[in-house]
């Protein structure tokens, strides 16, 4: 069971900030982050990759995006 962070509808820098806190707390494993803006998607992906996490992008039916972060 992976952790889920719902960052939909949040303004900068909250999606990236919350994802960073969650990744630091998690250490390793899987974190799923829901975002619904291209900026949040790019920021969370960049931050995760820079910290050594693998990023998988999954389009959701409602138009949002699920980022699956693995380490």
């Amino acid at each position: 069971m992976s952790e889920i962070l719902d960052a939909r509808g949040l303004a900068c820098p909250q999606p990236a900030m919350l994802a960073r806190q969650a990744l630091q707390k998690l250490g390793k494993g899987t974190l799923e982050v829901l975002v619904d803006s291209p900026t949040a998607r790019e920021n969370v992906s960049r931050l995760a990759k820079n910290a050594g996490w693998k990023v998988e992008v999954q389009q959701q039916p409602d138009g949002s995006v699920k980022l699956v972060l693995n380490k």
Partner: protein, 367 residues
């Protein structure tokens, strides 16, 4: 087209955008804009407020075509890549207030972060105190973010709402081109409804068509690359991420080089264009502006570009800026090249108190 977009969303996007801004802004000065004011989101919305008669400071009244171009450039970028998504509901009233107070602070310094960097690149060392103030204000905002500050989530809105801002910008364009005049008062002064400065900074401007084209180009680039003059500093401090900061460095370096080439680099503190030398007020004004921008999630340019993507909350921030500029001059809060005005200090203090209350009280409500 999509190759350009891929490049702009890569790590080189903000750098390219910053370089384009750094070259084009000084060129706009060469073509007629006021000194070190090739682009200034706050000065330009202040000029628009004046042109609409929301304040009567006769030297700063003009409907700046750059703002219209920047908006439509961002709108085109968003539409072309499926990013035009009308949305709202994230504390719009608070965002309106933050737009007002950010403008109050910036007009005590006489420039937004964009112009602070441009003033620095033109040799106006007063900008150093403003940028230090900006960093301090952003730092305070980050403190609030770390203890849970949030304006809450936005929600999808009807498509029609996304077209309100384009309609407003088209109306501004029409008013710029038509400049309706209903007559003159007994002393022979125009009674409006549109006022254009006959002298002072408001009378200095590049040709309309060039200003619009420059705005369109920068607005498109900035929307694609998520360029933000406040996020650049915020992300370095908060996230240890220099993605946006690289764009600001490119911006300042290219503006410096372009100013040198065009003979517009004049180092010093005194006699700088549309600037005063009071370091305390340059610093303090930008502490307030930096805090308000950070609490709202981005610099004034970014708010304008987001409004072009259909973000109704960012549009409220922009409206707050226009109304705030009106109040700022009517209440003698805005500084002048002679220095701070009668109520500059009080305005900054009240603004800081309000923003600190917002920072402590705004939290996301759990359903």
């Amino acid at each position: 087209m999509s190759a350009i977009s891929r490049f702009l969303t890569s790590r080189w996007g903000p750098v390219l955008t910053g370089a384009v801004v750094g070259i084009l802004a000084p060129v706009l000065v060469k073509l007629g804009n006021p000194g070190n004011m090739g682009l200034c989101m706050v000065c330009f919305t202040r000029d628009i407020a004046g042109a609409l008669g929301l304040h009567r400071a006769a030297v700063v009244q003009y409907i700046r075509p750059e703002i219209i171009g920047l908006f439509f450039g961002a709108l085109i970028g968003a539409l072309a890549f499926g990013e035009f998504k009308p949305r709202t509901g994230s504390a719009p009233m608070v965002r309106f207030l933050l737009g007002m107070f950010a403008t109050f602070g910036a007009l005590v310094f006489l420039g937004c972060p964009w112009r602070a960097y441009l003033r620095l690149a033109g040799g106006d060392w007063n900008a150093i105190f403003a940028i230090l103030g900006l960093i301090a204000g952003i730092g305070i905002g980050i403190g609030f973010l770390k203890i849970g500050y949030s304006l809450g989530r936005n929600h999808p809105a009807p498509k029609a709402m996304g077209w309100v801002m384009p309609a407003v910008m088209l109306a501004l364009l029409a008013l710029l081109l038509l400049a309706p005049q209903f007559g003159r008062d007994a002393s022979g002064n125009p009674t409006g409804p549109i006022f254009f400065s006959e002298k002072g900074p408001g009378s200095q401007h590049a040709p309309i068509i060039i200003a619009i084209i420059v705005g369109l180009v920068i607005g498109f680039f900035a929307q694609r690359s998520r360029f933000c003059t406040v996020g650049a500093i915020r992300d370095v401090i908060l996230l240890r991420d220099s993605h946006l900061l690289n764009g600001i460095l490119a911006f300042i370096i290219l503006a410096f080089i372009t100013n040198l080439i065009l003979g517009q680099f004049h180092p010093g503190f005194a006699n700088q264009p549309v600037a005063h030398t009071n370091a305390l007020f340059n610093f303090g004004g930008m502490v307030l502006a930096g805090l308000a921008f950070t609490l709202a999630g981005g610099c004034p340019g970014r708010q304008l570009f987001l409004s072009g993507e259909g973000d109704g909350d960012a549009a409220m921030f922009v409206f707050g800026m226009i109304v705030g500029a009106g109040f700022s001059h009517n209440f003698s809060a805005a500084a002048t090249p002679n220095g701070p005005s009668a109520f500059s200090a009080l305005t900054v203090i009240v603004g800081l108190v309000v923003c600190i209350i917002i920072g402590f009280t705004m939290r996301e409500r759990k359903a």
